[in-house]
Amino acid sequence: MTIPTSPPVPGEHPLEDLSDEKLKAKRWYHDVLLVTGLVIVTVALFLAAFGEAIAPYDPTIPVGPPSSPPSGTHWFGTDTAGLDVFSRVISAPRIDVTLAVSAALLSGILGTFIGLMAGFYRGPLSALIMRISDVLQAFPVFILAMVLVALSGRNLTNLIFALTFLYTPIFIRLTRAEVMTQRERSYVEAARASGNSEWTIAVKHVLPNSLTPSLIQLSVTVGFGILLTAGLSFVGAGVRPPNPEWGLMIANSAPQIVLGEWWTSLFPGIAVSLTVVGFAALSNAIERRVATS
């Protein structure tokens, strides 16, 4: 047997997987993600609750000269109708965040439950559910959402239902996959041997052990929901004006951007972008924590 004479290239060598350098890099990523996620999510939730109350102006009535750039009195400027952009940006989470959080929670609960049933009791019904959610997932989400919301009426309840419908398949798939591995574990056999009913085993034993994927997915789904809501409003199939909503604000200022009026779309856009990043980062941080523990 020959011994390699040249030293292994750092980072390329498989046996160096747990070197200090790699471990440090991993921790750094985890910390950045966790802090980014927590800060942004906290701010978003705070604004969803109190944004309108702490806004300096009423977000739905004109309060200044139209199309004025950012200044001391209007921090983010005013739009073409003279509405205060700053007040609108911090009032919008009441709609955007509330809607996305509700849809994520609803689809999380529904999808986890259906996934549990489909994974635990395997049969023709379970196969059918999987086929349907497969087909749903293969189709471009945005177009489906547009059809659902525009045709069922553009209001908040319908938006929540449409988003819930679209995001449930993800949770079904994730939970089902986890349940399928859990149901083969010996603790399930033990529970069965000690005389528990199948229902009790599914809900009391398998379910708590299969929650991790759904919990990780929950936060990132909130981000997706915000993105989708903003996109729908942007094309005119979402929230109705003059509600303060980020996508709507960007849509209204789209024709102005070619004239150089950047402030009306820049600030709501940054808000959407950062919020989505925040919820995704939190999910990612939780995922890394779970993976290393």
């Binding site: 020959t2 390699p4 980072g11 390329e12 060598h13 498989p14 046996l15 997987d17 350098e21 790699k22 440090k24 890099a25 750094w28 990523y29 950045v32 993600l33 980014t36 087909v135 293969a138 189709f139 471009p140 989400v141 945005f142 177009i143 547009m146 059809v147 659902l148 525009a150 045709l151 069922s152 009426g153 990132v220 981000g223 997706f224 993105l227 903003a230 996109g231 942007f234 094309v235 005119g236 199939a237 996508g247 960007i250 789209a254 951007i257 070619v258 004239l259 150089g260 950047w262 779309s265 820049l266 709501p268 856009g269 959407v272 972008s273 989505v276 990043v277 995704a280 980062a281 990612n284």
Partner: protein, 334 residues
């Protein structure tokens, strides 16, 4: 291989049929009133009833369904309720615009992100890796319509490096005749060099916007897959056997491709939806803009047609992808 394609084609056909049927009934079950949208809410009952009859909406849902399906088997997608022209010809001119846009965006994204992903996998924790990590956090799920607007502000308004976002050609340029429907291809085959340059000039910003959004996940996946392969035993064995590093690099790249290809397929489907917003921003008359108009006008035949065509295109993409996977990884074949 031939049998496999046939089987997949058959399943795909059933799926497309399933989606068509579901969409047909779902849009009729939702409480929208397309007749009122067409004739206005103040129309008299007579006018309303007349319009309803002309759209065939006075029939039962089942007889509407039979009419639609019997048209479909003859390749007839019906007529738009708003423009009065056949859906198929409308989609025929809209689809190539979208396909050209997303194919270019996709190619740019792959060319840029796969090498970056490989480079970061080789030096985890390095400067490039950290920068890319920050970007990956961002892109992937982002408001593409807003990035489009931001790029317009920077590259059109401020720097003058892009045209005004008013469509595929400047008004002063006479567009080439519609042969394939793709602006670059059409101007090239008709030898219209001025139109070709203008088409490219109008395409680069929307293409960059889409590529910017989808590159994040591709880099992430390439990095992940690559570092997994780098840590695997068969690469260790190759290194231990003293194979030249170029040979090892080739094996690593090939072995890390399958997950990237799978993701690429998913992203192509995503682009099909993402193009909707970017087309709106840049005023491209592609399938995305068409679907927005169809939905907002409650033009049911147009909605059904769009959904059917998009389903078929995505199924075709998945099929090509699976064949590609089988070519890269022989184990997949059975």
């Amino acid at each position: 291989m031939g049998r496999y394609v046939l089987k997949r084609g058959a399943i795909g056909l059933i799926q497309a049929l399933g989606i068509t049927i579901v969409v047909f009934f779902v849009i009729r079950a939702l409480p929208a009133d397309p007749v009122a949208r067409l004739v206005g809410f103040n129309a008299t009952e007579d006018v309303y009833a007349q319009a309803q009859a002309s759209l065939g909406l006075d029939q039962s849902v089942w007889s509407q369904f039979v009419t639609y399906m019997s048209g479909l088997v003859r390749g007839d997608l019906g007529v738009s309720w708003v423009t009065g022209s056949p859906i198929l010809s409308e989609i025929r001119s809209a689809l190539p615009v979208t396909l050209q846009l997303i194919t270019l965006a996709f190619a740019v994204a792959l060319l840029v992100s796969v090498p970056i992903g490989i480079a970061t996998a080789k030096r985890p924790g390095g400067k490039l890796d950290k920068a890319v990590f920050g970007y990956g956090l961002f892109a992937g799920a982002q408001p593409e319509f807003w990035w489009g607007l931001l790029f317009i502000f920077i590259f059109y308004y401020t720097l003058g490096l892009a045209p005004a976002p008013l469509g595929e050609f400047a008004p002063s340029v006479s567009p080439p005749p519609e042969i394939t429907g793709m602006s670059l291809v059409d101007s090239l085959i008709t030898g219209n060099f001025a139109a070709f340059v203008d088409a490219a000039w109008h395409l680069w910003l929307p293409v960059m916007t889409l590529a910017f959004i989808v590159s994040g996940p591709i880099i992430k996946m390439t990095r992940q897959s690559m570092s997994r392969v780098l840590g695997s035993e068969f690469i260790l064995y190759q290194q231990a056997s003293g194979l030249p590093s170029s040979q090892v690099a080739r094996s690593t790249t090939r072995a890390s491709l399958p997950p990237v290809v799978t993701l690429a397929g998913i992203l192509f489907g995503f682009l099909l939806g993402g193009a909707v917003l970017v087309e709106q921003v840049f005023a491209f008359n592609g399938l995305g803009s068409y679907s927005v108009r169809a939905v907002l006008n409650l033009d049911y035949p147009a909605i059904q047609g769009t959904v059917l065509i998009i389903t078929i295109v995505s199924l075709l993409v998945y099929l090509v992808l699976d064949l590609l996977l089988a070519a890269i990884d022989p184990r997949v074949k059975n």
